[in-house]
């Protein structure tokens, strides 16, 4: 009888969706990564929280990704040649619905930074590892209000527009612009302040990896560059911290696209990263981040 009661209690706990939590001891802090042909896997630990991950080439040119953290699984299946991917996320217990929270994004962002630091930059990384890095960069910025289960299609020229040439200045992909800028790119978003055509929702941006600071970006105030972010100023000039690049800040890939520029123009313009006002820019930039080529 005790066994039956125990079974009923277990069923009850499962039915109530109680979070079991992780009982295992966290591993060593930082990223632990192992790789062999077509298979990259490992763990990442920080402040008692742990991420386990794997990226595998399951068919030629098709990659299966799995990231587990804080009682949930994030999964992706990518076919870059066809520009098709499915993304999903669910609770480990019962595969029930869940959503990314601030704590999840914080951990994923640290994981993304560790992957960007550890893996070779751009195309030099193994393909499955590169797509893992891109997906983690995407999840680290995923707004709570957007469904985790999505099909993402990407096609250059229709789904995403490359802005590689805008990311150069003074003939360089990286390093100082030496005062010679390309003010070609208008980052635009829509929000409670107004539509895309409202000057306060636009920034004139020098894209690229040319300088960085502890704030969101550099912006021109009078004739002075300030570090931080303007809040819906009328078309300020902005630059720095890899403006226009897919992923948060300067990640390990070098994709500069129109939608990523507009997303940066939203979250670096008086809106927080996971702001509902920038959801549409995030969704538009999803295919860019997964499929766009590296610029260099």
């Amino acid at each position: 009888m005790r066994k039956v009661l125990c079974a009923v209690a277990t069923l009850m706990l499962w039915a109530c969706g109680g979070s079991g939590g992780e009982t295992s001891q966290p591993r060593q802090e930082g990223l632990s990564l192992s790789a062999e042909t077509g298979d990259t896997r490992g763990t990442f630990a920080r402040d008692g929280s742990e991420v386990s991950f794997s990226a595998r080439e399951v068919e030629p040119g098709v990659y299966s990704l799995e990231v587990r953290l804080r009682g949930m699984t994030l999964a992706g299946l990518l076919d870059p040649a066809s520009g098709v991917s499915t993304m999903d996320g669910f609770a480990d217990e019962g595969a029930a619905d869940t959503q990314l929270t601030d704590a999840d994004r914080e951990l994923l962002s640290a994981f993304y930074d560790a992957l960007s630091a550890e893996l070779p930059t751009g195309d030099a990384a193994a393909p499955e590892a590169m797509y893992l890095r891109r997906a983690v960069g995407l999840w680290a910025q995923h707004p709570s209000t957007v469904e985790l289960q999505r099909t993402v299609m990407g096609e250059q020229g229709r789904g995403y527009t490359m802005l590689c040439s805008y990311a150069r200045c003074n003939g360089r992909n990286t390093g100082s612009c030496g005062g010679v800028y390309n003010w070609y790119s208008y980052a635009k978003h829509d929000c409670n302040k107004g539509g895309f055509s409202f000057a306060g929702n636009q920034q004139i941006a020098q894209l690229g990896d040319h300088t960085s600071c502890g704030g969101d970006e550099f912006y021109m105030s009078g004739s002075t560059w300030l570090c931080g972010e303007p809040d819906h100023w009328s078309r300020p000039k902005v630059m720095g911290n890899c403006f226009g690049r897919c992923g948060g800040g300067c990640g390990g890939d070098t994709q500069y696209t129109l939608d990523a520029t507009n997303h940066d123009g939203c979250v670096r313009n008086g809106h927080v990263l996971a702001s509902a006002w920038c959801d549409d820019q995030f969704v538009s930039a999803t295919d860019d981040e997964l499929f766009a080529s590296n610029c260099y």
Partner: protein, 124 residues
């Protein structure tokens, strides 16, 4: 079936019913919170809206958040469904169709409604 076993199964069924009714009561409370919030949103009255809004994390102060939502003309078109968060029994995920300035978005918003000491609160 022995009498004792039958009693256990009846008891188990009762517990399962209780669990289901508990889930239903949570989702109903969460949906009601979302409806009440959007009904009161045009007033921008944080004395009413404040207790319905979650705080902390990336949430901004009530006055600021509510002013932005009102300026953007957010309104509730309807609730699609609601489910318990698989990682938190005190949170309900409410899928709701939201309109901006009368224009209904293609995808439902996923709103998080959390149970706090004072009741249920929406986190945007």
């Amino acid at each position: 079936m022995r009498r004792g076993s039958r009693g256990v199964w009846v008891s188990g069924a009762a517990w399962a019913l209780l669990a289901c009714s508990s889930t239903a009561s949570k989702t109903e409370a969460a949906e009601e919170t979302v409806r009440r919030f959007f009904e009161a949103l045009p007033s921008e009255d944080c004395a009413v809206l404040g207790p319905l809004l979650a705080t902390g994390g990336s949430m901004r102060p009530c006055e600021e958040a509510v002013r932005e939502m009102h300026e953007h003309g957010l309104s509730l078109v309807g609730i699609v469904e609601s489910r318990l968060d698989g990682r938190d029994a005190d949170a309900v995920l409410v899928r709701a169709r939201i309109a901006r300035d009368g224009e209904v978005g293609k995808e439902p918003w996923l709103l998080r409604v959390e149970r706090h000491a004072g009741g249920w609160r929406v986190r945007f």
